[in-house]
């Protein structure tokens, strides 16, 4: 029987194919809980989960909070504005102080890549990564894969196009790790200013010269969010030009397979990465992604335990 023995979930890169499949199949069960009248099971009753968010995020944080509550755990949210980091407390000290209150799981989002590994050395409760810098966003990768599985019934042998700012995208990296392990191939496209060196070595990845090449005959088209503030400076002239060359619209979506699915991790800049027609169109699975988010996070919380430490 498949077992999940990891104490933390920090990166999909650190999980095996079997562990990822287990997380996904458990998420499918959790989905049923979410569709009942009484959306609660007593599984994590009496456990304390702290959501420590150093970066603003309503959607991921809420999703983790609901996930914890549906498993009957006690969840606490800490965001930077209300935590003591504004008084200059280090991450390590914040964590040790929280640890003294005996949480079972800390879910953290932080702007510095690798900070969860740093934290894991200092504290001994379980840690789940809700996003670290540009490194990984495992829960997003998992919910994206679950959604793909919902559409196609499988995760191997698919052509997945990821378009956008790959350099700064932890979502892209997690998806590349997970999809490669499960047997699909990824085709990335984006402005050359946003394509990191060596990305083709991250997994089964092909760098395409332009967006058309990437989405040609794709089964999955995943669009990434363009951040105006960051890219606005030197990485691209403006969003108008970006949307002309890298935006998904009813015309170029025809290059993909007829039954292709369209995804986006959100929040969407309508008219920039995707035209509203596509966002709201028949091929869009974006809302399903969000729905799967809670189930996937319930699965992650359930499986993370005090078993063998592998980090």
């Amino acid at each position: 029987m498949a077992e999940f023995k990891q104490k933390h979930i920090i990166a999909l890169r650190d999980l095996t194919k079997e562990e990822i499949e287990l997380l996904l199949s458990t998420a499918e069960i959790m989905r049923e809980v979410n569709s009942r009248d009484i959306k609660k099971v007593p599984t994590l009753r009496g456990k304390t989960i702290i959501n420590l968010f150093y970066e603003a995020s309503t959607r991921t944080r809420t999703s983790f909070e609901i996930a914890g509550k549906r498993l009957s755990a006690d969840t606490v949210n800490i965001t930077t504005s209300s935590s003591s980091t504004t008084k200059g407390e280090t991450l390590a000290d914040t964590a040790l102080n929280l640890l003294a209150m005996k949480p079972d799981i800390i879910v953290m989002r932080h702007s510095v890549s690798g900070s969860h590994y740093f934290l894991a050395e200092k504290i001994n409760c379980s840690i789940i990564n809700a996003g670290d810098g540009a490194h990984e966003h495992p829960s997003q990768g998992l919910l994206d894969m679950l959604t793909i599985k919902d559409c196609f019934g499988r995760l191997d042998g698919l052509k997945v196009a990821i378009v956008g700012d790959i350099t700064h995208s932890r979502v892209a990296r997690s998806n590349i790790q997970g999809l490669t392990k499960l047997g699909s191939s990824i085709f990335v496209a984006g402005p050359p200013t946003m394509m990191p060196p060596g990305v083709e070595k991250l997994g089964n990845v092909t760098v395409c010269a332009n967006m058309k090449e990437a989405i040609q005959d794709a089964d999955v088209v995943m669009m990434l969010r363009i951040q105006q503030e960051r890219q606005g400076k030197t990485l691209m002239p403006n969003t108008r030009e970006y949307s002309r060359y890298y935006g998904l619209n009813p015309e170029n979506i025809k290059l993909a397979k007829p039954n292709a699915m369209v995804m986006h991790p959100g929040p969407i800049n309508r008219g920039v990465e995707m035209s509203s027609y596509v966002v709201d169109g028949d091929q869009s699975w974006i809302l399903k992604q969000v729905e799967n988010g809670v189930a996937v996070r319930m699965s992650m919380l359930y499986h993370v335990c005090g078993g063998e430490v592998t980090i």
């Binding site: 023995k5 199949s25 069960i29 009248d37 099971v41 335990c305």
Partner: protein
């Protein structure tokens, strides 16, 4: 078969027991109105199918059958174990006002039944819950008793009772292991 294993109920014996349980359920409840069978995954689920078939043969009507997985309701979910994969709970009908016959293969401490009852309550509000088990091996740790029993088998704590099934999910025999 290993040296310290004995068959305490063979295939034919199992069949007769299930037939008798089916009759008892119908007798106690005066027919199959509002009866639903919920089997506890996985052994109980297979037996529930078997009992449902017997009821159809005897009474002539179909009985709704569902499955409940109790993994998320266990009382030993602790941080020290690797968590098992969770099975599917499948109750594609309302439990409102129904007489639920909970079915399991072996009744032992009673904790599985308690978890199953909690799971059922989260699915709705049955009129009542009755318990049917193939084997009652004693050693209850909670105040739980079966309404319909295939066979009572006194055992020691060192022993183990197991119902085996074939690929078609039909019961083969019941084995007592020392």
């Amino acid at each position: 078969m290993a040296a310290d294993q004995t068959v305490i109920l063979d295939g034919a014996g199992v069949k007769r027991a299930l037939t008798r349980i089916a009759h008892e359920i119908l007798e106690r409840n005066k027919g199959l109105i509002d009866i639903v069978l919920i089997g506890i995954r996985s052994g109980g689920a297979f037996l529930a199918e078997g009992i449902a078939q017997q009821i159809s043969v005897i009474e002539g009507g179909a009985v709704l059958v569902g499955t409940v997985d109790i993994t998320l309701y266990r009382d030993d979910v602790s941080g020290q174990l690797p968590h098992q994969s969770v099975g599917r709970t499948d109750i594609p009908f309302s439990l409102e006002g129904k007489k639920v016959i909970l079915v399991d293969d072996v009744l032992y401490t009673g904790r599985t039944i308690r978890a199953a009852m909690d799971a059922l309550m989260d699915h709705g509000r049955p009129q009542c819950i009755q318990l049917a088990v193939l084997i009652d091996r004693g050693h209850r740790e909670l105040p739980i008793r079966a309404d319909f029993v295939g066979r009572n088998v006194p055992t020691s704590l060192k022993e183990n009772v197991q119902v085996t099934f074939n690929e078609m999910n039909q019961p083969i025999e019941v084995i007592l292991e020392k």
